[in-house]
């Protein structure tokens, strides 16, 4: 049944009305991947939140959720499957929580229905990590709430003293207000500001002074000085500045975190593989979890199933699609006895394989488990924030010392107030706000334009890049849009549109990968009905369109005669009415604007192409696309070759960005200073990248590098601005004239102006360099646009 029919029968056609680009295509035939594993109780336990003998609550991860109609449909699941009591979507986490009754439906039925609708559930990834993040976020909310509450009240209580004029005094109220402000500042000091003190302490212990050290010094001086003023001098103290600073700093942190909420980069290889596989032992088959597979096990891999571990093929032949691993979308024919690698997908009838390496030892996962992946990337330059942090710490201490010494000669009783004033006013708080607001704004704008950064540090790393290494297949070429070029036989004309239509109509009846490719390549031609369709495995297809005999397949099959062997495996011959007309060759489409983008990149960076392919069209690439002869083009590079090459470049002092797509690039992506994974399907990216670039945004690559440099410039400007405030404050402090009032005025002004200037300057500059900054349309709220997976019938 078509997905549309399913929805209409349940009265849910409104789904299509709700959204111009819903996730479920009207055309998509119900795809039935096997969900047999969901019958297994162990699987149920993995996704289950609650169960008793009548009722089960599960949470399924559904990456296809991307718009309002997805939410609507998934929350109306109870109308599609009787037995579901409720379902609730969490849009950001892309999960749906479903409660159902055991007696009326099963998890497997639910999974299959979701798959039919185009919302195939995927194994729950990083569930625990999501919870940890949520806990941390809750704590941050609480800290902000407490800081805000205290800040507001302390400010109110401080006002009366500021508004005194002439000879007035607060009389008894002064003590009341002072003690209340002190009481209100304690939660801020011990709870809300605790992270800053902890981080500064860690930094001092490891001698890696960062910006949190002078921050902590400043905050502490503020509090200590105020305590002293209140208890000893019965004055008001600086507590409104103190609580306000903590409040603004925490808001800066929240801004930073919300900025990269939309994308969770944390994935392990396990989230790519199925939950379980079918194992044959003795005469029977059982579904077992991945972790139980051992070398020597015999597995049954059905159509469209992933091979979980390196194995040897035991069936006669198989057709494996390695696009997941190598980016090659044309499937490979494998004979009995050959090795099939983990990550390959079987196309066609079920086959049997014998496991050679365990899942964790397989070629692919070994690459991922390489020790270099486990550590966070070390940066080969000192970050600006650390530079500044160090500078501030020493400058503050030096100035404090100097002014203390000076005043000890002329008026010793002013030493303590002056030194503490210097310490508290030299707090780089505005500075600490400049970083999250500059980088955070940039990250949001880049995100709206299809460029997703792992964290803010990546922006700074990007600004250092001088060398760009590119992968070819899948990166510069789009693996989905194969073009089918027809090469006519000598003496024959190319196919007419109606003839192409006949060919397509025949090919559409077969699920052989080359037929599918032919179907896709000829998508513009309508499909007609055929008669007497027959498929001969390994040789070709035959059918009648009208009265004409159409044959598609290998040369021998099509023409009943011997022809010279084709040089490439991917030629598909065609005969119409018994006459050999020629062959289709499948070429991969290049990304739009490829030449322009490469040329633009060339202006500033060294470019290198590393490809795993044969040097088939090497001269075409060198001549047409990489027109400068200075570019280095290398072919037949294995994943390890790529990684080593990048490491080499880095050793000779260059800062390297690697742009690739598949898992086979993982090593190089990880090794480079910045790894950029380019993808057309947002949910199938490599976990080792620092940046994810949506395929449609590839032409913006030069601007992305430029954006990083823009950010650094805006950052310098805002640093200068915040320094100006510090200097003004220092002027007051050193001369002994810093009063709470001055501080209370300077502090919010400096914080807010730095926040505003950094946000707006970044926005304006990025807009000028070509990034769209407008809010996205309704259909893609704040999150990533997931391109529809092309259905079998056409595009």
């Amino acid at each position: 049944m078509l997905a549309y029919e399913i929805l209409r029968n349940a009265g849910l056609e409104d789904y299509y009305r709700l959204n111009a680009n819903p996730g479920v295509s009207l055309q998509s035939a119900a795809r039935r991947a096997s969900y047999a594993e969901y019958d297994d109780d162990r699987i149920l336990c993995q996704v289950c939140d609650f169960q008793n003998d009548r009722h089960v609550d599960v949470t399924l991860h559904v990456p296809q959720i991307h718009c309002t109609s997805c939410v609507w449909l998934l929350e109306n699941l109870h109308r599609l499957i009787p037995g579901i009591r409720h379902s609730q979507v969490d849009f950001f986490k892309k999960t749906v929580s479903i409660g159902f009754e055991r007696s009326r439906t099963t998890l497997r039925a639910i999974a299959e229905m979701l798959d039919s609708l185009g919302y195939a559930p995927s194994p729950r990834d990083a569930g625990e990590r999501a919870d940890a993040v949520l806990q941390a976020r809750k704590t941050l909310y609480l800290k902000i709430g407490v800081a805000g509450f205290c800040f507001g009240n302390v400010m109110l209580l401080s006002f009366p003293e500021y508004l005194l004029s002439g000879g007035e005094s607060l009389e008894g109220f002064g003590t009341l207000f002072a003690s209340l402000t002190l009481a209100l500042s304690l939660p801020v000091l011990f709870y809300s500001a605790s992270d800053y003190f902890a981080s500064a302490w860690r930094a001092v212990k490891t001698r890696a002074i960062n910006i949190e050290v002078p921050l902590a010094i400043g905050l502490f001086s503020l509090f200590a000085r105020s305590l002293f003023d209140i208890l000893v001098h019965h004055r008001l103290g600086f507590l409104d500045s103190f609580t306000g600073l903590v409040f603004f700093l925490l808001i800066g942190r929240l801004f930073k975190e919300k900025t990269f909420d939309a994308l969770n980069f944390e994935r392990t290889y396990e989230s790519y593989f199925p939950l379980s596989v079918t194992r044959r032992s003795g005469g029977e088959e059982r579904t077992v979890p991945l972790a139980e597979i051992r070398p020597g096990d015999r597995l049954r891999i059905r159509n469209q199933e992933l091979i979980p571990a390196d194995s040897v093929l035991k069936s006669v032949c198989a057709c494996i699609d390695y696009s997941f691993v190598t980016g090659e979308s044309l499937p490979q024919k494998i004979e009995r006895g050959e090795t099939v690698y983990a990550g390959g997908r079987q196309c066609g009838e079920a086959v049997e394989v014998e496991v050679v390496k365990s899942v964790s030892q397989s070629h692919l996962t070994r690459l991922w488990n390489d020790s270099s992946f486990k550590e966070t990337k070390r940066k080969r330059f000192t970050q600006v924030s650390n530079h500044v942090g160090r500078l501030f710490t020493w400058a503050t201490l030096a100035i404090g010392l100097a002014s203390g010494v000076f005043w000890s000669f002329s008026a010793p009783e002013r030493v303590v107030p002056v030194v503490t004033s210097v310490l508290l006013v030299a707090c780089p708080c505005a500075l600490a706000l400049a970083f999250p607001f500059t980088f955070g704004t940039a990250m949001r704008i880049l995100g709206k334009n299809g460029v997703y950064l792992k964290n803010m540090d990546v922006l700074e790393s990007l600004s250092w890049i001088d060398t760009v290494v590119l992968d070819k297949t899948g990166t510069l070429t789009i693996s989905d849009q194969d073009r089918a070029d027809f090469i006519p036989s000598p003496g024959h004309a190319p196919l007419s549109p109606s003839e192409e239509s006949w060919v397509r109509s025949v090919a559409a009846n077969s699920v052989h990968p080359l037929s599918v490719a032919l179907n896709r390549g000829l998508f513009r031609n309508p499909i007609l009905t055929v008669r007497d369709f027959q498929e001969f495995t390994g040789r070709g297809l035959q059918a009648k369109v009208g009265s004409r005999d159409i044959r598609i397949g290998s040369a021998a099959f099509v023409s009943n005669s011997t022809l010279p062997d084709e040089a490439e495996k991917s030629l598909v011959y065609v005969s119409i009415g018994g006459e050999l007309r020629g062959a289709f060759r499948f070429a991969r489409a290049l990304r739009p604007s490829l030449k322009k983008t490469i040329a633009a990149l060339f202006e500033t960076y060294r470019l290198i192409l590393l490809s795993g392919d044969d040097p088939r069209d090497a001269d075409v690439w060198a001549r047409d696309i990489f027109t400068e002869s200075a570019a280095v083009l290398r072919f037949r590079q294995s994943p390890k070759d790529k990684m080593d090459f990048v490491a080499d470049q880095m050793r000779s002092g260059r800062f390297v960005a690697m742009i690739g797509d598949g898992l086979n690039d993982a090593g190089a992506l990880r090794q480079s200073d910045v790894g950029i994974a380019i993808t057309d399907d947002i949910n199938a990216f490599s976990p080792s990248s620092d940046v994810i670039l949506a395929g449609r945004s590839f032409p913006m690559l030069p601007q992305v590098f430029a954006a990083a440099k823009i950010c650094m410039r805006v950052l310098s400007a805002t640093v200068a601005l915040s320094l100006a405030y510090n200097l003004i404050g220092l002027g007051f402090a050193v001369s002994g004239k810093l009063s709470p009032f001055v501080s209370a005025v300077l502090m919010p002004i400096s914080s807010i102006s730095v926040m505003a200037v950094s946000s707006f300057a970044t926005r304006w500059n990025l807009k000028r360099s070509g990034f769209g900054v407008a809010k996205e349309e309704k259909k893609n709220p704040d999150s990533i646009q997931i391109l529809n997976v092309a259905s079998q019938g056409g595009s």
Binding site: G11, V89, F91, K138, L176
Partner: protein, 56 residues
């Protein structure tokens, strides 16, 4: 004016009550998902005509 000695602490207490409500809301998970409710409130329920055995 001496009433202020009583009034100010009392108002602080009232404000603290609100802070407590905020803390409860965060801990209770009210802020866990800030995005989906915004989408959900704009959606209509499907028409009643085709409803079969609706679950209670």
């Amino acid at each position: 004016m001496s009433a202020l000695y009583l009034l100010i602490p009392v108002s602080l207490l009232a404000a603290a009550g609100f802070l407590g409500a905020f803390v409860w809301a965060v801990k209770n998970g009210q802020y866990d998902d800030a995005h989906t409710p915004a989408m959900r409130m704009l959606l209509d329920d499907p028409a009643l005509s085709k409803r079969e055995n609706e679950n209670p």
